[in-house]
Amino acid sequence: MPPQNSASRRIKNISISKPIIYGNVAEKISESNPLPEGAPADHSHTWKVFVADPLGNDLSSYIRKVVFKLHETYNNPTRSIEEPPFEVTETGWGEFEIAIKIYFNNDCGEKNITLYHHLKLHPYGPQLEESQRTGKVESILFDEIVFNEPTERMFKLLTSKPGSLLPYKSETSKFTKEAERQELDRIEKAFDEIKKQIDEKSVEFKELEEQRQRLAT
């Protein structure tokens, strides 16, 4: 079979999703975390932005490279990482939005996709207290890359290794089955609330509408 075919032919009616995590960790400059050599003196944090598998599996089976677009004031702001781990370590003092472009294997016939991540250096909300103790801040997001009707080549790459299942419980990661369950419950509850409101409103609406028609005639 010529490679052209398996790279362009798509398998109908299936989709494959791959979970990823992306985001940044940051740490304040301190005695235990000194400013690296050559970094400007006004930089207050070291940080690392990354794209990874939630279970630490290898992403390079289907991801060719990841390009991080940093703030223009950095030297060489477009960082192209072609080998795992897909991450950029830098120092800085300010937060900004990082565009993360993920390129898939050349042969797979898929376009690249772009994620946006707001680099987080300063803690707020529930993280605040813990961060003040450790000096560490993190902003890690979970998402799924969905391949609708993947090409045969891509299908092969994606199914060559199992293991994108979320762990039921984990000490290290907050992205677990349990968390998913909780989130589903939360949404379900909210949805029930909305449904209740819709029902109430529709009763009210219908009554008003009837009243209006009665009055109009």
Binding site: D143, T159, L215
Partner: protein, 462 residues
């Protein structure tokens, strides 16, 4: 030569076929005179070719009328009597002669235009007997005067009103005169001794309403005396009113749609309600109306395309079996695909991995196994390509979106799910749609309640 000119005018040969035939057939029936015509205008014929001239010239080749073609007709100075005159006056006029005996006897041609209106007559006796009770205000003399005037001026009301001078102490308006004349006429006609009555005429006479007539004239008066600014204002008001009408129509339509939407079942409700054929039909209808932008439909059985109304219970089971079969077939297709893909490869390690996949696909995959690979089968058509799951959540018009976000905040739900898996996103999308429906519903409810209040205040209730 003709063809040259035709070329200049860009006329095609085919278009001339029809007139050509026509011309020929005409020639076949043609008289010698017509042939002569062609002979005479041969040069012209060459110029125009077989086309008929655009204007049909019947007398064609001679454009001047013949002068002195016949004898001059005699005109005679003849006397005549006008039958419309009462005084036997004899006048003369020129008539195209010669005059025969019978012609002289003929009545004057314009006599017939001297018509008079058939206004009912009544005597003083009749008046006192039948008409006196009609009105206290009128007496016989004045009524008679009115009728005479009406007869004299052929019911030209403006003139009658102008000439009406019966007494100085009673000022009659035009409407008074009309009312009097019509009423008396109706009465007279009604009591016609012949017994023949024109019911239609009497009815129309009796239908006269003085007050309405006065009102009508007032309206007309006001209409004609409008100032230009008033006219402009009126026009703008009409336009405004039309706008209101359109808006109202649109709103009513939106409301009807919403009502329909509310009557259809919520797609989020438990699947049990769809287990009856009726439920399935309802579901089908509601799915048809669900926003097309919604990416993922809930995992519920979808009835087949044919006959959404006719799915008996037994068929439903069959259908479920069919669905299963279809899935199996898909699975088999998949496996054959992977077979093709992996066939002919030599490396052992790869073959192991492949056979694993192959086997997984061949056996019926459990849900969990599918999840390991993130694999999903879809019944609906997918848009091929890659995307980020959380970026495909429903979005709305900016105004609605802002309210959706607000509602999410009130509910304590973040704007984007923290774990956007397929399940979570599906649920989240439902939530978003629900919120959008609620917002729409609130808007419409506010509108209706406003309207109800308006109608109430207009009708003076409350």
């Amino acid at each position: 030569m003709a063809s040259d000119i035709l070329d200049v005018f860009n006329i095609k040969e085919e278009t001339r076929v029809q007139p050509k035939k026509h011309a020929r057939s005409e020639n076949d029936f043609g008289t010698s005179g017509k042939k002569k015509k062609h002979a005479l205008s041969r040069e012209l014929y060459n110029l125009i070719g077989t086309n008929l001239p655009p204007v049909a010239v019947e007398k064609g080749f001679k454009f001047k009328d013949k002068i002195n073609s016949g004898k001059a007709s005699p005109w005679v100075w003849a006397p005549f009597k006008n039958g419309a005159r009462s005084d036997e006056l004899e006048l003369h006029h020129w008539v195209k002669g010669p005059i025969t005996e019978t012609e002289e006897e003929k009545p004057y041609a314009f006599e017939k235009y001297n018509t008079s209106l058939d206004i009912p007559h009544f005597s003083e006796e009749e008046y006192t007997n039948t008409l006196k009770d009609l009105s206290e205000d009128w007496d016989y003399e004045e009524t008679k005067y009115l009728f005479d005037l009406a007869r004299d001026f052929d019911l030209r009301w403006a003139v009658i009103y102008d000439r009406y001078e019966f007494s100085n102490d009673k000022q009659r308006t035009l409407e008074d005169l009309k009312e009097r004349l019509y009423k008396v006429s109706a009465k007279v006609l009604n009591s016609n001794p012949d017994g023949t009555r024109d019911v239609g005429l009497i009815k129309s006479l009796e239908a006269f309403d003085k007050n309405q007539e006065i009102e009508r004239k007032q309206y007309l008066n006001r209409l004609i005396h409008r100032a230009p600014t008033e006219i402009a204002e009126e026009e703008s008001l009409v336009i405004e009113a039309r706008k209101f009408e359109l808006a109202a129509k649109k709103m009513l339509m939106e409301r009807a749609q919403l009502l329909q939407l509310l009557d259809s079942p919520q797609s989020s409700a438990s699947i049990e309600q769809y287990n009856s054929s009726q439920g399935l039909t309802q579901l089908y209808n509601s799915l048809m109306t669900v926003d097309k932008s919604k990416k993922r439909k809930p995992e519920v059985p979808v009835p087949p395309q044919l006959g959404p109304n006719a799915i008996p219970h037994t068929q439903q089971i069959q259908q479920a079996q069919q669905n299963q079969l279809m899935r199996q077939r898909q699975g088999r297709k998949m496996s054959s695909v992977s077979q093709k893909m992996f066939g002919g490869k030599q490396e052992i390690s790869q073959q192991q991995a492949q056979s694993e996949v192959w086997q997984l696909l061949q056996s019926k995959l459990t849900e969990e196994e599918m999840e390991v690979y993130g694999l999903r089968f879809h019944d609906e058509k997918l848009q091929p390509g890659v995307f980020i799951r959380s970026q495909k959540l429903s979005t709305f018009k900016p105004a609605v979106q802002a309210k959706v976000v607000e509602t999410l905040n009130e509910l304590g739900i973040s704007v984007k799910p923290t774990l956007p898996t397929a399940k979570v996103c599906g649920k989240f999308d439902q939530l978003l749609q629900g919120i959008a429906t609620l917002i729409d519903l609130k808007k419409q409810t506010d509108k209706v309640s406003g309207e109800v209040a308006l109608i109430k205040s207009q009708k003076g209730i409350e």
